[in-house]
Amino acid sequence: MRSRPGQRFFHAWVLLTPALVLLSLFVAWPLLRALSWSFQQVSILNPQEVEPVGWSNYAWMISDPRFRQAYANTALFALMVVPLQTLLSFFIALWVDRPNPAWRWLRHAFFLPVIISMPVLAVLWTMLYQPMEGDQMGLINRLVTTLGFPAQDWLGNPDLALPAIAILSIWQGVGFQMMIFLAGLQNLGADQLEAARIDGAGPGKRLWHIILPGMKPSIVFVVVTTTLLSFRLFVQPYIMTRGGPENRTVSIIQLIYETTFLNRDLGLAGAGTVIFLLSLVIPLAILRLMRRAAT
């Protein structure tokens, strides 16, 4: 039985209302609050006492060298993580996409880090990255020296700290992206691949002409989620380096967190949040165009 349009409209609103209320309460309202604070001098300890300051919070934030450094660090982190993690997870998915159940353990092995809490992994990897000092050194330096290369102060060297954190992040997140690709691969028609193989198409040709075009939606989804996740960088540098050395791993989220809870300055934190969200508009617009092209 078909329901009348008015009734359908009513049902739609009834079903949507809980989600809309929650979204308004926990997303829209805090964002609007942050936007309003960004034009005020206001402390978290006394948010009732506000003083309008116009654009000065934005001017302060933009002229702050630490904020600019945090911005550059976060963008650089995303530039390292997004392509590497996407490529790696794609090829791992191709490798583990085997019908034989004996290979399933490999998928589990790659997925395992995803379910372990990031703070635990950050502590663990800090020990792995332990620099050489006297007779003590971490496993990674032991490996590096065994291969004949000099040991490094991975988290203490300003040039190496962010890449070291990126490696941990890629390792931790690659299993999740692999699962997305795996689902995409299993949706591809096996007949099509089999036909191509019988027609003499090698692995390279099958990848380029069948797998990649069929996987476009999965690739775009992975790139979008990885980009958003990498801009949320916080736990790893906060635990492993506290934003150092020389502020080279401080992230935007860490800076906003510190501005809120150390400076107790909601005005500046609001301005930082707004700048951060606005800066996400460009990469997200590019990704949206990519998604449209893919579909």
Binding site: L45, V53, R66, E133, R242, G244, P245, F261, L262, N263
Partner: protein, 426 residues
């Protein structure tokens, strides 16, 4: 389910909710005020002691119309929790605070002055360091039950083997003597001193190494709390921290230690740490354990002090009753003694020392001497969290090889920007 059954089920649910939700609390009169008390969650022994103190208070005050309900929150997120409660206008009646954060809460008008609730005689009994820590702009806002002290523990047996003489009791080594001792110990291939360079512990760096700066006459921020330029990066501080870095450059201390207790496990000969390790080290080494003040970089001995302290919210409707709890938890016998027994800290009340005779004898007497004569609070400024973060980051980078003057200039500028912004809008 039929309509009748459904109605019956709802009646049961509502009835049960009313029964359990609205049953009166036993054993309290209708006029009884239950104070909300928040406390940081420290070691389990401390938490147990606090529960016992609160239980004893509730028993004693059952018929006096005051009860306390103590909630514990993990100490690593405790200050955030209290800040969020302040933002929501939901501060508890009484709460404890880490000493250096008192200024921030007091300046925001969130704390009640304590002087009306404590007689001059009682206040006289508190250690000067505790009074200094809780006093902001000549008003007392917070009082602690216990205090802390930084010292240099050493192995007497190894010192004797190497012919190293500790300083006479009540005095400290000069920096040069300390370095000579390190050089002698380094020959044995033992680590001369452990400095516990935990990268994530911002507060440790300020607490542990500010005394070096104070001893030389330097400071982290100007006395009026408005300047860090030419203070944090002063020539004195640059000299002191350049000297301090030699400990790492000459491998006298580890930059990234894994072992959390190298002294206790026999890896190092000296341990630059606080009172909290005293009992553990004493249990390990007994008579072989020595304690001396931190080496001085100038004419004065300097020691960091201060710890968690209690305050009354300015929003409470029951300040007098909150003060009754505070008097209990800070009482030498009811509050201070059980807490100090649990955490091994220094009593904040002079009269509480009678319950701890160990502080009359070496090596524990050094702690008392430091508290009474040389203890100093960390800077009492509302911007302390920004200052300590910037200072700790600078120290970490200096250990990592950054140029001392340049790195302190950067830290001073970072903090000064925050101070200037605050000054402009006040």
């Amino acid at each position: 389910m039929t309509k009748g059954n459904e109605i019956r089920s709802w009646c049961w649910i509502v009835g049960l909710l009313l029964f359990f939700g609205c049953s009166p609390r036993p054993e309290t009169s209708p006029e009884t005020v239950t104070l909300r008390v928040w406390c940081h969650q420290g070691q389990e022994s401390e938490n147990q002691a606090m529960r016992q103190i609160a239980k004893a208070f509730n028993t004693t005050h059952k018929h006096k119309g005051i009860q306390v309900d103590v909630d514990f929150f993990p100490d690593y997120q405790y200050t955030e929790k209290v800040s969020i409660a302040a933002a929501g206008g939901d501060l508890p009646d009484v709460f404890d605070l880490d000493g250096p954060t008192v200024a921030q809460f007091a300046k925001a008008g969130l704390l009640s002055p304590l002087t009306p609730y404590f007689s001059a005689e009682v206040l006289e009994d508190f250690a000067p360091t505790i009074l200094e820590q809780g006093t902001i702009d000549q008003t007392l806002y917070a009082l602690g039950a216990f205090d802390s002290a930084m010292v240099l523990y050493y192995r007497k047996d190894i010192f004797e083997e190497l012919n190293i003489s500790p300083p006479p009791e009540g005095t400290a080594w000069s920096w040069e003597t300390f370095l000579r001792a390190c050089t002698q110990i380094a020959i044995t291939e033992m680590t001369p001193v452990s400095l516990h360079m935990d990268i994530t512990a911002d507060e440790w760096f300020t607490y542990a190494f500010s005394p070096l700066i104070w001893s030389a006459g330097g400071n982290l921020i100007s006395e009026d709390g408005r300047e860090t330029i030419d203070v944090l990066n002063s020539p004195t501080n640059v000299r002191v921290l350049t000297q301090w870095r030699t400990l790492f450059d000459q491998n006298f201390a580890r930059r990234s230690p894994i072992n959390p207790d190298p002294f206790g496990s026999g890896e190092s000969v000296m341990d630059w740490t606080g009172h909290w390790m005293a009992q553990s080290h004493f249990d390990t080494y007994g008579e072989r354990l020595g304690v001396m003040p931190l080496p001085r970089t100038g004419p004065e001995i300097a020691a960091a002090s201060g710890s968690w302290c209690w305050a009354i919210s300015s929003h409470t409707d029951h300040p007098e009753k909150a003060a009754v709890w505070l008097n209990w938890v800070l009482d030498p016998r009811q509050g201070v003694t059980p807490m100090v027994e649990a955490n091994g800290a220094l009593p904040a009340r002079k009269t509480a020392y009678q319950f701890f005779p160990k502080f009359d004898h070496s090596p524990f007497s050094t702690f008392r001497m430091l508290q009474q004569n040389h203890g100093r609070s960390r800077p009492r400024t509302p911007h302390y969290p920004v200052l300590t973060r910037a200072f700790a980051a600078a120290l970490r980078d200096i250990v990592g090889g950054a140029e001392v003057q340049e790195r302190l200039d950067q830290a001073a500028t970072e903090v000064q920007r925050v101070l200037d912004r605050s000054g402009r809008t006040q």
